[in-house]
Point group: D2
Chain length 340, copies 4
C-alpha cells in the first residue's frame, strides 16, 4: 500500500502516518521526492488494511493498493529516475557508465594491466571476480580474499571504482571492505538471505537478472535489497541475457528489458553483453545496441590475453578491441543525447 502526501505537507504529518503504520505492526519506507513525499507500507498482510485508515489523516493526498508484486522498485513509489551516486560517479544520469575488467582476478599483472586499459579507454569502474560461482564444484573458484586485495591495489594505483561479486551472506562484510559496488550474480537472484545481507552493507548493489527470471520477479528481488537500504546507496539492475531455445549465443540478451524497466521502475539498468553472448565476436554489437536502446551503462569483460583466461576467455575483448568499442560507444551515446 502506498500513501501519497499532499504537495508541501510538513514532515510532522508524514510522521503521524509513520506512527500509525508502526502501531498497526507494519514496516514502511519513505520516498522524499522533489514534489511530494510517498510512504510505502510493507508487510505480508497489507492487503487486509483498509485504505481509509490513512485516507482520513491530515495532508494525505491519496492512498492506493499496489497490485504489482514489487513495491519499492516501482514508479508508483518513486516517480523520478533514481541516480545512484558513488563519490563523483553517477549511475542513471545522463552519463553512460562503462564498467570493465576480467571475469576472474588472476594475478597482479593481469588486474593492473586491465585496470589501466579500462581507465585509458574512458571506463569508470573496474570489474573482476574474486569469488566465482561455477556450475561444477571442480572448476576454478576464484582467488578469494587474495583477489579482493589485488582489486584494492588496482583501485589505489589506477584510480577506478571496484565492482565484484559476492556469493554468500557470510562473505558480505569482507567483500564490502574492498568493493564500491557489489554484484549479485544471475544464479543468486533469488537467494533471499544474500539479498538481505547485501541490502544492509551500505554499498551499491548490481543485481543481475536471473537466467530465467521474468522482469517482474527481478524487480521483486530488488525489493529484498531496497527494503534494507536507506536512501542513497541504491540498486543497479543488470540485464545479462535469458535462457531460451537459441544456442547460437550462450544466452539471449533481452534488449527489450531496457525500455520495459525504464517504464515500470525508477532504478538504473545496465547491460552485460559479454555474458549474454558468451562470444567476444558479438559483444560490440550488443554493447552498442544496449546504449542506443537506453541502457545507463555496460558491464564488459576484457582480458590482456583472452585465450589464456582461467574462465570465460571466449567472451572477453582484448584491450585494443575494447578501446575501439569505446570510441564507437561515445558516438552512439551522443546520438541518443548522452555522453560517456
Amino acid at each position: 500500500m502506498i500513501v501519497e502526501m499532499q504537495k508541501g505537507a510538513e514532515y510532522r504529518f508524514v510522521l503521524q502516518v509513520l506512527e500509525k503504520i508502526k502501531e498497526l505492526g507494519f514496516k514502511y519506507q519513505v520516498n522524499l521526492g522533489e514534489e511530494r513525499t510517498v510512504v510505502a507500507i510493507l508487510g505480508a498482510n497489507t492487503n487486509y488494511l483498509d485504505t481509509q485508515i490513512f485516507g482520513v489523516m491530515d495532508y494525505v493526498e491519496e492512498v492506493k493498493k499496489i497490485s504489482k508484486p514489487y513495491k519499492l522498485a516501482s514508479r508508483d513509489f518513486k516517480k523520478e529516475d533514481t541516480v545512484v551516486k558513488i563519490g563523483d560517479i553517477e549511475i542513471g544520469s545522463n552519463k553512460v557508465v562503462v564498467m570493465a575488467g576480467p571475469c576472474s582476478v588472476e594475478s597482479k599483472e593481469q588486474i593492473l594491466a586491465s585496470a589501466f586499459a579500462v581507465k585509458k579507454a574512458g571506463g569508470t569502474v573496474l570489474r573482476g571476480g574474486a569469488f566465482k560461482p561455477r556450475t561444477s564444484p571442480f572448476a576454478f573458484q576464484g582467488l578469494g580474499e587474495e583477489g579482493l586485495k589485488l582489486l584494492a591495489l588496482a583501485k589505489k594505483e589506477i584510480g577506478l571504482l571496484i565492482a565484484t561479486e559476492v556469493m554468500a551472506p557470510e562473505d558480505v562484510s569482507l567483500v564490502a571492505e574492498y568493493a564500491d559496488i557489489i554484484q549479485i550474480g544471475t544464479r543468486n537472484m533469488q537467494n533471499y538471505k544474500l539479498l538481505e545481507a547485501v541490502g544492509k552493507c551500505g554499498k551499491t548493489i548490481i543485481l543481475k537478472r536471473g537466467m530465467s527470471a521474468t522482469i517482474e520477479e527481478w524487480l521483486c528481488a530488488s525489493d529484498y535489497i531496497l527494503k534494507e537500504q536507506n536512501n542513497g546507496e541504491g540498486v543497479i539492475l543488470c540485464e545479462r541475457g535469458i535462457r531460451t531455445f537459441e544456442t547460437a549465443t550462450r544466452s539471449t540478451l533481452d534488449i527489450s528489458a531496457v525500455p520495459v524497466v525504464k517504464r515500470v521502475s525508477h532504478l538504473p539498468i545496465i547491460i552485460d553483453p559479454s555474458h549474454a553472448a558468451g562470444d567476444f565476436r558479438y559483444v560490440s554489437s550488443l554493447a552498442k545496441a544496449g546504449i542506443a536502446g537506453g541502457a545507463d551503462g555496460l558491464l564488459i569483460e576484457i582480458h590482456p590475453n583472452p585465450k589464456k583466461a582461467l574462465s570465460d576467455g571466449a567472451q572477453s575483448l582484448t584491450f585494443s578491441d575494447f578501446s575501439k568499442l569505446m570510441e564507437e560507444l561515445k558516438s552512439i551515446a551522443s546520438a541518443v543525447g548522452r555522453n560517456i
Copy 2:
C-alpha cells in the same frame, strides 16, 4: 558440397564442373563473386559424393563438404555481403532502409495517409497487409486483392516500394503482380511449398524468423527460397522476436541474431521492433538498438489512429512518433557510419 574455382578461372572451366554435376544427377547454384567463382552442389545425397571427382578438374582450387545444414545462405558459398537491389533502392548496403506502414490495409484514406507519412519521414518502402494470418479463424483476415489494389494506388500516388505478405502458394502470382517485396510471415517460415513458390516469383523476399526457429533453421528455410532464385532478386532476413518465458513483451527481440547472422551469412538482415514488442511504447528503443547493433533496416508499424486499427493497434506508432523516431535513427545510423 562447395567447389571453389581458382582466381580468374575462365567460365568454360566452370561449365565443365557444371556439366559433371548434371551428369551425376545433382543440381547446382553458381556464385560469380568478384574474386572467384564458387559452385554449390545441391541434393539430398551430396554426402556420398567423393570430393576428388571435382578436385582433379582443371582450375578447381578447392572442394569442401559443408557441415552446416544451410548452404546457399552461408558465407562459405558467398563471402561478400549480398546487396539486394530493387530499382534504385539497395538493401544491405551502407544505407539503412526503413519500411513502414499499417499492419492491415483498411481503406484508401488510411493507406494513402500512411504512405505519405512514411515518405515524408524518409522511409523508402510502404508495408501493409492484405492477407492476414490470424490465430483464430474468426478474426479479421484482411481485405485480400482489394487491399493489394490500395497498396498499388499508394505506390503510384506517393512513390514508395510496396511490401506485403503472402500466405499460400496459390496467391503468390497475384501478390507478385502488385508487390515489390513479398513477406513470408513467422508462422510460415517452414511452409516449404510456399517458400519454393515465392522463390520462383522473381521478387525480393522478406523471410521472417519463425517464432521458435533457431538461427540455423531460419537460414535453412532461406535456402528453400534461394535455391529457386537466379542472382539478383534475393532474400532479406527479418528478426521479429522469438518466443520465450518473458511475457512483458509479446516476443523477445533476439538482437544477437544481427551479429550472428552477419558472421555466418551474406544475407541482409532487418529488424521488426513492432511485432517483437507488441507495444508501441517499446518500439523506438528497439528500433534504435537494432540499427546500432548492425541491422540493415527496419520494418515498423504505423497507423493514422492506432486505437482504431482493425489489428495490432497496440503496437503501432502514430505518424508523429514515427517521424520523431526517424530523426533519432538518422543520428544513430551516422554514429555507426551509415545513413538513412
Copy 3:
C-alpha cells in the same frame, strides 16, 4: 457467441436460430448433443452482436459470449468427449489407440514388415511418411505418391488404417485418396490454408502441436479445421513436444497438455513420444507416462532396422522393443481403467 437451446427443443426452433444467424450475415456450426443442441455463431465481428437478439427467441435457454479465442474445440460448445470413429475404430473412447510405423516409407519390404509388426503387437493404425517436411531443402523429402501406394498396399495386405502427413493444399486430395487419417505436422500447425483444405477433405485429421505453440493457439488452429467439417470426421490433437532450453531431449514432451486439453476441450489427444524424445531410449518411458496421464493414444516410430533408416532412425524402436512396450502399455491402460 454460443446459443444453447432448451433441453428437448424441437429442431424447428433450432432452425429459426440458424435462419436469424444467416440473415445477420454470420456462419454457424451446430452441436447436436445428447442432452441439448448448442449453436456456435462464427465470424470476425460476433463481438458486436447483442446476445438479446437470440435470447428472446423461442426455446433458447442461454446465450453467451465466449472469451476464449477458440470456439468449436471448446467444452463450452460441446460438453461431452468427442469420440472419432473410423470404421470400427474409435479414438477418444475407453480403448487406447496405438498408431505406429516408420518415419518415412522407404520400400515395399520395409513398410510391409512394419505393418505386420504393428498388427501383431496390437496396434490399429499404420503411420508412415510419404511427403516429409525437412529443415534443409537438400535432405531426403520422401517417396511422394509412390509412398502412398506402398501404404495402400500394406493396408490391403495386413489390414490396418493408414495415417500419413500432408504438407501442401494441392496435395490434399491425392493424400486423401489413400489415407484414413491425415497428419498435419508441427511446422504446419499455423498454415491456415492447409488447415482449411484438410478440413474439407472428409478425413480424420491429426493436428500436431506447433513446436512453440501454446495450448490455446493449438486449439485455435483446430478451429480452422473444425469449421470446415461436418460432424463425424473429427480432429485428433497430438502432443509431440515443445521447444525449450533443455537439449538432453530433442523437444520437451509437455505431458501436462493432456489434462489441460481434457479440461478445456472435447477433442481426443494422443502423444508422440518418438518425436518428443528424438532418442529411442526414452520412448518407452514417455509412452507409458502418456497413457497413465490420460492420453487417448500414441503415435510411435518403429523401423525394421533403425540404424539404416533414411530419416529419424535414432528415435525409432525396433519391432521387438515395440512389442515389449505394447505389453507394458496394456498393464498401464488397465491400471487407469482402459484397454488397448
Copy 4:
C-alpha cells in the same frame, strides 16, 4: 578423472591410489561397488593430470578422464542405482515413496490432520514448509522454528519421516535437528554455499531442479552436495517443472527428465506434480504419468482446506482427492512392476 580398480582388488591397493591422490594435492571420493571399487579424483585441475600416473599402479584396471561436467552423480562413477536409506525407508528401490503435506506449516491442527491423512493413505514422508522462499519480500515467509517444532510433533504423534526446506547456510544445523530429509528449493539449486552446507549435515537431501536448469547443470549441482557426503546419506533429485513459454500450467513438467536421469546418473529421482502444475486439477494426471514413466517417488501438496491455505492453495489436493489418487497410484506402480 576416474580410477577403476580391478575386480576383487584388496583395499590396501585402493589406499595406495588414495595416497597418491593426496600427495598430488587433489581430493577424492571412493565408491565401494559390489563388483569393484571406483575412485573419483576431484579438483579444478584434474585435466592436467596424466592418466598414466595411476594406470601403472597395482590392481588398477582403467583410468579415464570424464568429459561430463558432473562426476559423482554419473553412472561412470557408480554403475548401480543408489538406494537412499533412512531407517526402514528406502528411496530408489522397488518401492515407490510418496511424500505429501501442506506447502506451509500453518498450525498444529493443520499439520496433524495432514500427517494423519498422509499416513492413512499410505504415504511415508510428511512434507511441510517452515522457511518459505517467496518472490516478494512482503509475502508470508513461514513460521520458522515454530513450524519445525510442529513437524516434529506430527512425526512423534503419527509416525512419518519429515521433509522440509532450508534456505540459508546458517539455518542448516537448526533444520537438521528436526528433519529427516532436507529440501533445496528450485531457486537455490545453484546456491553453492548452501549446497555445501547441507552436504555436510548428515541428512538426506532432496535437490529440486532449478526452474531453468538443464539436466546437466542439475547433476553438477548435486556434485556440490555429494562431494561433502560420506556414503549412505545420499541425494534425491526432484523434477518440479521447468520454465517455458506455455502459461496454461505454472511450469512445464519435464517428464523426460526421468528416463534421461535414470540413464546418465545413479541417483533416485522423484516428481513434484503440484509445483509443476500449479493447479490441483492437473496433479493426479501428472503424478500417475510420473510413476508410469519410472520415477522413484512423488512430492505432493495436500491441505485440509486448500481454499484457506496461506500459500499455494490452488495447487493442493484435498485429503479425499489424495486418498483416491493413492489408490490409482498403487495400480500404476504394480503395472510397472513396483509397489507403494
